[in-house]
């Protein structure tokens, strides 16, 4: 007679696997890193000449140690900063106090750098002869400024640029700028970036507020 081997009950393996699964779910960090990416300027060269920039092309944003804003010499607020920045960059009514611009075709004539020239020509092909702003946003903070305020201001400035890019993208390609990036239409996205650059310059730090 054949001897019967009793079958091992395997119903608990599922529970064991569940336990392991739960352990990994809990310990593993699924956190996605997100943030605002910026490029720092190289250290200042003491021998280099200070580039001459017309006063109207600089949009000065100052944040003091008490987290108050001074925008273009006047007290400002976070709520209006985005619209002010947009107006400064786009300058739709050619206000002589706001940023100056150049048409793409003029830019192509002027540039000697072949890489930049190629960029402008690509943009010209895709977007037509557009105005490129000469405006630069100058952001300066105090050592006593809180980090959250600094990020809020950076965020508003980024939002201004992103909204302008979106508007241009919708006008010409019918989709938002983020969609272009998502769909990997890099040539179109690059052209829009060329026409609406994000130029935020951070001045050399100063200690005015007295706190560290």
């Amino acid at each position: 007679m054949k001897r019967k081997v009793p079958e091992i009950n395997a119903s608990s393996t599922a529970d064991m696997a569940f336990l392991l699964l739960l352990f990994f779910l809990v310990t593993a960090s699924m956190n996605v890193d997100s943030g605002l990416t910026r490029i720092l300027p190289p250290p200042p060269d003491p021998n280099a000449p200070v580039p001459e920039i017309n006063q109207r092309n600089i949009f000065v944003v100052l944040i003091n140690a008490a987290d108050q804003l001074l925008v273009e010499g006047k007290p400002g607020s976070i709520a209006t900063l985005k619209d002010q920045t947009k107006e400064f960059i786009a300058n739709p009514y050619n206000n002589p106090n706001l940023s100056d611009g150049e048409l793409l075709s003029e830019k192509i004539k002027k540039t000697t750098d072949p890489k930049m020239r190629k960029k402008y020509e690509d943009a010209l092909k895709l977007l037509g002869d557009r105005r490129v702003t000469k405006g630069i946003i100058s952001l300066q903070n105090d050592r006593g400024t809180s980090y959250s305020m600094y990020i809020k201001v950076q965020n508003e400035l980024a939002k201004a640029v992103n909204e302008l890019r979106n508007e241009l993208s919708k006008e010409i390609f019918g989709t938002s700028f983020n969609k272009l990036v998502e769909l990997k239409q890099d040539d179109k996205a690059e052209a829009i970036k060329t026409v609406i650059p994000m130029q935020i310059s951070e001045a050399e730090p100063k200690n005015v507020g007295g706190t560290k």
């Binding site: 395997a10 119903s11 393996t13 599922a14 064991m16 696997a17 569940f18 392991l20 699964l21 990994f24 779910l25 310990t27 593993a28 960090s29 699924m30 996605v32 890193d33 997100s34 943030g35 605002l36 990416t37 910026r38 490029i39 720092l40 300027p41 190289p42 250290p43 903070n141 105090d142 050592r143 006593g144 400024t145 809180s146 980090y147 959250s148 600094y150 990020i151 809020k152 950076q154 965020n155 980024a158 939002k159 992103n162 730090p205 200690n207 706190t211 560290k212």
Partner: protein
Amino acid sequence: MGRFKKDDKHTAPAISTASLPDIIFMLLFFFMVTTTMRQSSIYVKIVPPEASQSQKLEKKSLISYIYIGPPINPQVFGNEPRIQLNDTYSDVKDIAEFITKERENIKEEDRQKMTTSLKVDQDVKMGIVTDVKQELRKAGAFKINYAARRVND
């Protein structure tokens, strides 16, 4: 001693659960593969600020982290914000060395794309952040990222 009646002609056969462990194991392996364990424990308290324009960071291997915030046990280390590099509290002047080491860990063709992510607590004053940024400029790590939670507005 009562006997149980056998009436298995009327009940449906039980569904075999033999494959259940396999399914769970598959899930398990999926999570094991996709998730990364945090390499270093963080000794500073960080609540990142919120920003609606923050973008996802890609290529985690190219990112090195600098943490700035108040220490988690203030009884020992006080309340002043500290900089954490790798696993220890550090000073601003250690950053140059840290960046050099991090850069060596990256493949040569990717070194240009190296990003330094600043994970800073929202209540920290800009002074210490500015010092870190100046140090990064000197070290040649120009691409930085201010870590911020993404919120919709």
